[in-house]
Symmetry: C2
Subunit: 111 residues, 2 copies
């Protein structure tokens, strides 16, 4: 089990696919084997394995094989990287709106 | 100026490109014209225009043309959609860890 360092380009790319987001939604309830993960999803086991590879490569998911069973779990660091980037953009934008609000609230000098 | 409804597939796909994230970073400081936006970025004006189209189509950016100048601004709804999806996954995952912690903290019945 080797942890991949999250790569923000690949994290966002990976989350742009609805099947991969469905896998992440399933995994957020807890670790699960690949075959049980594939059951409720309307895609083949081979496709699930491929999506899992993408999710593991970019640091969103960890998988571990014990005997014949491969178990998958969310790797929270991947989601953190994406959340932090978005949060920073939003907070910059909101600070800007606050400053605009302050400027509008100030009385004009010549009044 | 027509506002696009954010499309989560395309929002994540759009954010997977470093040039588009650089544009979003620039725009989070405030609205700016397309030509001023292109200046510090190491890409052609044509490429910036193309990236802006992708960002506008998925609901991350709004542009407005007044006279000959097209001004771009962040559309916060697009970032909200992505942030909400990630936040929900993380909070499900964290609740699960809390429950595990509670279980481990409970005294065993036969002790």
């Amino acid at each position: 089990m080797q942890k991949k360092k999250p790569d923000i380009d690949r994290v966002f790319h990976a989350l742009g696919d609805p099947s991969r987001r469905a896998i992440m939604e399933k995994l957020s309830a807890g670790p699960i084997s690949v075959s049980r993960l594939a059951e409720p999803l309307d895609i083949t086991l081979a496709a699930v394995v491929q999506h899992l590879q993408v999710l593991e490569e970019c640091g969103l998911v960890q998988t571990e094989k014990v005997g014949r069973v491969r178990t998958c779990r969310i790797e929270p660091a991947g989601l953190s990287v994406a959340q932090q980037w978005i949060g920073e953009r939003r907070s910059m934008w909101e600070r800007r709106l606050d400053r605009l609000g302050d400027l509008l609230a100030e009385p004009e000098e010549n009044e």
